[in-house]
């Protein structure tokens, strides 16, 4: 069937809120709004996941990890994925399409922004300040921690005091202690990470982590938090509806330019329309600008909500460097969560004597099984042929890593736009990424690499390998529909409402003004809850009927 053959079916009732995307932010907002009595529908192009079919439960898990369960949609190529043109980007965006979104394949490392992250212009004279503060967001961080379930411990001197964590931290392990001891010898900060992985039973039917080591591959144990396990059950119990296999073609608008719903293609390939009183975009920092640009109309000729021209601009990743040490001893470093048990923020805040502004976080990393080690893990593959077995013996169970997450500042020339030729399987124009690493980001990474080498030397590593910038590291998709008070300089206001369209909201990483130097999901979800709270308090006009 071609697109021309299809006729559009109009779905029955007008819903109050139509959420586009069922991931980290879409799940949070859907649950909050449904519980407040709004009639919520979510369109998700992917599907529910069966935990028993995650790659980690397959004997062929290492093959599955690089093919059907790859983090890169261009490699995975499932029907529900859309291609991304990355030919002009040294960083490949990675994501997952399904109920739970990228929280299905994330590592669940959940640090918060620092107060200074909201004031980078004032403090450091770069980028822009957020129109909100850490204090305004704190209660939503706490709410989100409670729903997602946070293992960790308060008292970190690198961060403001925070409420008691729901569960104790994940174990550091003998391998982790090698790095911890080195940080302490150097007099540098470290702290157990906040992590949305259960260190004990927590939540609905969610067990404690059994340290399988492959939490990024989907958690059979349901110990790793993902919104299909946390927010979505609540949303569905409160009457929210989720349509899976529903790929949105465009957000529709009326003659006045207000959002009226979405045209989408259902799981059977039928063109449909769902009408709504308001639309919330939760399709990530690439999917959301793609859809807004695909929704150009007479009233929004440059793309929906794009009078500022900033939709798709200021794309930020967190470029990752990875430093790996090989130790003389076997530490069974495949046991335990891969990458979220401890971190260091010694170099987080700006110190201009370092030659750059802003800073970075170190995230401690473990390693995985023999094929992963042979394929190089975070380094080059082990040589084939002569000497192969000796090198594998040296590295297996003896490798630890330090990932560097540096703050990538917004730049107008880093963009998401529509590729002139590439489309998804439904013929919808696909996104194109154009991204270059700034000198400030490069300087951060180089500083971090030099200091990580000191850590590994202090810890007694026999070999140290450096990947100065991992290609497949574009987990954190931010900035492409930024927040601000000035409609000429931003896409959404301080509540996530677009300046141009009063019944269109954005709640994913697109709205970040700056990206900080931490994993963004708790901040994305806190912002989503805050926007939902605002709608509940201020937008009774969007509620069609009393529930």
């Amino acid at each position: 069937m071609t697109n021309k053959d299809r006729t559009t079916e109009r779905d029955g009732e007008t819903v109050d809120i139509l959420v586009i995307g069922a991931g980290a932010s879409g799940g949070a907002a859907s649950a909050w709004l449904a519980e407040a009595g709004f009639d919520v529908m979510c369109l998700e192009q992917g599907f529910w996941q069966d935990a028993s079919k995650y790659a980690s439960a397959s004997p062929d898990y290492e093959f599955e990890m690089m093919t059907n369960w790859a983090i890169d949609p261009n490699v995975r190529q499932r029907a529900e994925d859309y291609p991304v043109n990355v030919s002009e980007s040294p960083v490949t965006p990675v994501m997952f399409n399904g109920v739970g979104g990228s929280t299905i394949l994330w590592s669940a490392h959940t640090p918060r922004f620092h107060p200074s992250d909201f004031r980078v212009k004032t403090l450091d004279g770069v980028a822009d300040d957020w129109p909100i503060t850490y204090d305004e967001l704190e209660e939503y961080y706490d709410l989100n921690d409670e729903v997602m379930g946070c293992s960790g411990i308060s008292g970190d001197p690198a961060n403001p005091p925070r409420s008691p964590r729901q569960m104790p931290p994940l174990p550091i392990g003998d391998d982790g202690m090698r790095l911890v001891n080195a940080f302490e010898k150097l007099g540098w900060h470290w702290w157990p990470s906040d992590s949305y992985i259960n260190s004990q039973r927590y939540g609905e039917g969610r067990d404690a982590c059994n340290f399988c080591g492959h939490n990024h591959m989907g958690c059979y144990q349901r110990a790793k938090s993902s919104t299909d396990l946390t927010y979505w059950p609540r949303a569905l119990r409160s009457g929210a509806v989720i349509k899976t296999g529903a790929r949105v073609r465009r957000i529709t608008t009326d003659a006045a330019g207000r959002a009226t719903g979405a045209d989408y293609i259902d799981s059977k390939g039928q063109e449909r329309h769902q009408s709504a009183r308001a639309v919330i975009m939760a399709a990530n920092g690439i999917g959301t600008p793609r859809l807004l640009l695909n929704s150009a109309s007479d009233s929004h000729p440059e793309g929906l909500a794009n009078s500022s021209g900033l939709v798709g601009k200021n794309l930020m990743f967190h470029p990752f460097a990875m430093i790996t040490g090989v130790f003389p001893e076997k530490m069974n470093s495949w046991r335990g969560p891969l990458s979220n048990f401890a971190m260091s923020q010694e170099f987080y805040e700006t110190d201009r004597s370092r030659g750059f502004v802003r800073g970075y976080t170190y995230q401690f990393q473990r390693s995985l099984g023999p094929a992963w080690v042979a394929r190089g893990g975070f380094t080059d593959p082990i040589p084939w042929g002569q000497g192969h077995h000796e090198e594998l013996e040296k590295r297996l169970g003896s490798m630890m890593g330090m990932a560097v997450i540096g703050e990538d500042l917004p730049e107008l020339h880093n963009t998401v736009d529509l590729d002139p030729e590439l489309t998804d399987s439904d013929g919808i124009p696909a996104p194109r990424i154009r991204y270059t690493l700034s000198q400030n980001s490069r300087d951060q990474l180089d500083h971090a690499i030099a200091n990580a080498k000191k850590v590994f030397e202090t810890a007694g590593a026999s070999d140290i390998y450096v990947d100065p910038m991992m290609q497949q590291s574009g987990w954190h998709l931010m900035g492409t529909a930024r927040m601000g008070n000035d409609p000429a300089g931003s896409v959404v206001n301080r509540w996530g409402q677009t300046h141009d369209v009063d019944n269109l909201f954005i709640i994913d990483g697109s709205i970040f003004v700056t990206g900080a130097a931490v994993n963004p999901t708790p901040t994305i979800q806190a912002l989503a809850l805050r926007t939902a709270d605002h709608i509940v308090a201020e937008r009774a006009d969007l509620k069609g009927r009393a529930r």
Binding site: E62, E64, P168, F211, W384
Partner: protein
């Protein structure tokens, strides 16, 4: 996910010879080809259409300049592979990946390297429990986050 039936363009003999070069004998085990792993390499490579396309392209490209590969001596085979590795790093990478994956999931290899052969789930692993005393030193530091 569907598993593709190997087709005639992928010669098991060539894959086996490649495996022998890539992963030589170790301990009580012969080289990977002589362990009979070529069949599994071809089967597993068919587990995803994109990867199968990459794999068959790699084999076809390799064959195009090495039609007599299986008849070469070991040193010449190594030279042929190294040349392929330099000329076609992506295709070679796919061959190396699947070779390592199949080799290191074999129970005989697990026994040789002392690895407990299982998928990561549902069994998991045992770790030393969290011990708060590890924070004794870190807790002594004064807060140093930047106030605004």
């Amino acid at each position: 996910m569907s598993t593709r039936t190997p087709n005639a363009e992928v010669s098991e003999a060539v894959v086996s010879a490649l495996l022998d070069c890539l992963i030589p004998a170790a301990g009580n085990l012969p080289s990977a080809g002589n362990m009979g792993l070529a069949t599994e390499v071809i089967r597993l490579a068919g587990g995803q259409p994109r990867f199968w396309g990459l794999f068959t392209r790699a084999i076809a490209t390799f064959n195009s300049t090495n039609s007599e590969f299986v008849k070469l001596t070991g040193d010449d085979q190594d030279l042929a592979i190294r040349s392929f590795e330099v000329d076609h790093p992506d295709l070679f990478g796919a061959l190396l990946d699947i070779s390592y994956i199949v080799y290191y999931k074999d129970p005989r290899v697990h026994e040789r390297i002392g690895w407990e052969g299982k998928p990561p789930q549902p069994d998991g692993n045992v770790m030393t429990p969290w011990d708060e005393s590890v924070l004794d030193s870190a807790r002594k530091r004064e807060p140093f986050w930047r106030r605004v």
